[in-house]
Amino acid sequence: MNNVDQPREHYLNADYGIKSWLLTTDHKRIGILYLLLITFFFFIGGAFATVIRLELITPAGDLLTSDTYNKMFTMHGIMMVFFFLIPSVPAVLGNFLVPLMVGAKDLAFPKINLLSWYLLLIGGLITLYSIIAGGVDTGWTFYTPFSTTFSNTHVIGAAVGILIAGFSSIFTGLNFIVTIHRMRAPGLTWFRLPLFLWSNYAAAIIMVLGTPVVAVTLVLVALERVLHIGIFNPALGGDPVLFQHMFWFYSHPAVYIMVLPAMGVVSELISVFSRKSVFGYKFVAFASVAIAVFGFLVWGHHMFVAGISVYSALVFSLLSYLVAVPSAVKVFNWTATLYKGSISYRTPMLYAFGFIGLFTMGGLTGLFTAALGIDVHITDTYFVVAHFHYIMVGGTVMAYLGGMHYWWPKITGRMYPEGWARLSALVIFLGFNLTFFPQFVLGYVGMPRRYHAYPPEFQVLNVMSSAGASILAVGYVLPMVYFLWSLRYGKHAGPNPWGATGLEWQTTSPPPTHNFHETPTVTREPYDYEALPEGGFDA
């Protein structure tokens, strides 16, 4: 296991040319296609965020017109949620790693996997077309009757784009579930699976069971705009609150699609950089599944002031607190894993620390929003904006970047530059907190979300947030640069530079097209670092 056995042929150089990429069924190449695509969407969504933060530096709506501003936050939400965060960890890292981690040659349905990528591409292009053709101004939540009757922007285009991207997500989830059930290597029992697989499996359950509901809801919204049906239109006897039920049935669990795979990444990172098995493996594994199931029971907490019954609100609030428990269990277990470990401060570990910190704050502020009495005051304010950015950006994006650094040597065969990477992790952590922490205060003081102009007393907090956003932007551009740099100049990585235990580290870096030279057989428990040879890695 020395880092000199660079394989002669691997999945990257097995074939050349555009066609070999665009028609590939190799899950690793499709993972890279996803990486390119969602990075593109991320920077488009990021551009919208930049414009939003620039506008909010001053209280008056002086940079953009109201309509443009409304389109900006709508497109920021749509791009980031549906085209970046939901595919991020599962579609890039999951695609690359799930077959490797189960010791298979590919996902169960490679062609459907390629189809998923094309669906995301087509959905994204249709949505982009809607932007260029004039934009959408409904907010990413598409609340009726505004979206069905009153908005005269390109709602149908965006809805169709998201619908198509939704099928991409469904097929990815389906592929993961079948692969994990049917394609595990000999000896790889459920409780020997890396926690990354458990959490991706849990997320896949949500993709498969939740996405169809939002799909059909968006179909009904589109139909309502085209034809004269009024299922959500109060003027025709329909019910706008029903739309919210159906929308949040998916869109709340969608948060767990984003954060569960991220938790999986963090479990891997914490373990390998402490050189210890994750504390309470089974509890962490079952917590993932519990979050996936409970996550479906709580959507009503988005609607406490929307006109649902008081009793229903009670039920949803209570259930929301139940989902807090498995999340807390995970955080405690990660922390306990560090105890008596041998902790290394490599970049992925820094991201993992960042994740735990930010996710803890995001999760704990969720206790505020789930508390009925307080939610009345803070819902639809910047408090909620801050809360979900702590989970979705502070949580998911930190873990995604941590995972990218950790598996970068496996994906490309090269190491990233450690100094720059640590710097960027630090910049992102600081920039993030400066951007979003003031928004908690802003929200409780009373600034509603989606405001183009605001009363002057909110300015100082908004300026702090915008300043943080500029730091955050630098933090996000840095990895782009040094990852590209490392492709050419990075140090060659051996098969297992971190001394990790997963099956993906038992093959060469980058892996051959069929992943393993011979099908691996698993005889050990997960995270059994004792069994590894001493040294030989530079973690």
Binding site: L242, F296, L297, I308, S309, Y311
Partner: protein
């Protein structure tokens, strides 16, 4: 994993049962049972669906994980209905 082949005779019996149930549910629709009209109609529909799933779709002979999957689908559908109704059915309760 040897394949179990069901004989066509079974399919004919099931098919006949499905047609009979269709006739039955249509007929009963014209009888006033009060609140039980929808109940009976949906009970018959569920019976028909179960026949199709077990025999035509051979769920009887499918793997355990497939059966669990179908159960999960129904369970999640029940969540959607139950929690949505938890709102609509209690809206007019006094506070």
């Amino acid at each position: 994993m040897s394949e179990k082949i069901t004989s066509p005779a079974t399919f004919i019996v099931i098919f006949a049962a499905l047609l009979m149930l269709t006739g039955l549910t249509t007929g009963i629709a014209y009888v006033d049972l009060g609140v039980f009209n929808p109940v009976v109609a949906l009970a018959i529909a569920c019976t028909k669906a179960v026949l199709v799933v077990l025999f035509f779709m051979e769920l009887r002979h499918s793997s355990r994980v497939t059966k669990i999957t179908v159960g999960a689908g129904l369970f999640w559908f029940a969540i959607l209905i139950a929690l949505t109704l938890s709102d609509y059915l209690t809206r007019w309760w006094p506070t």
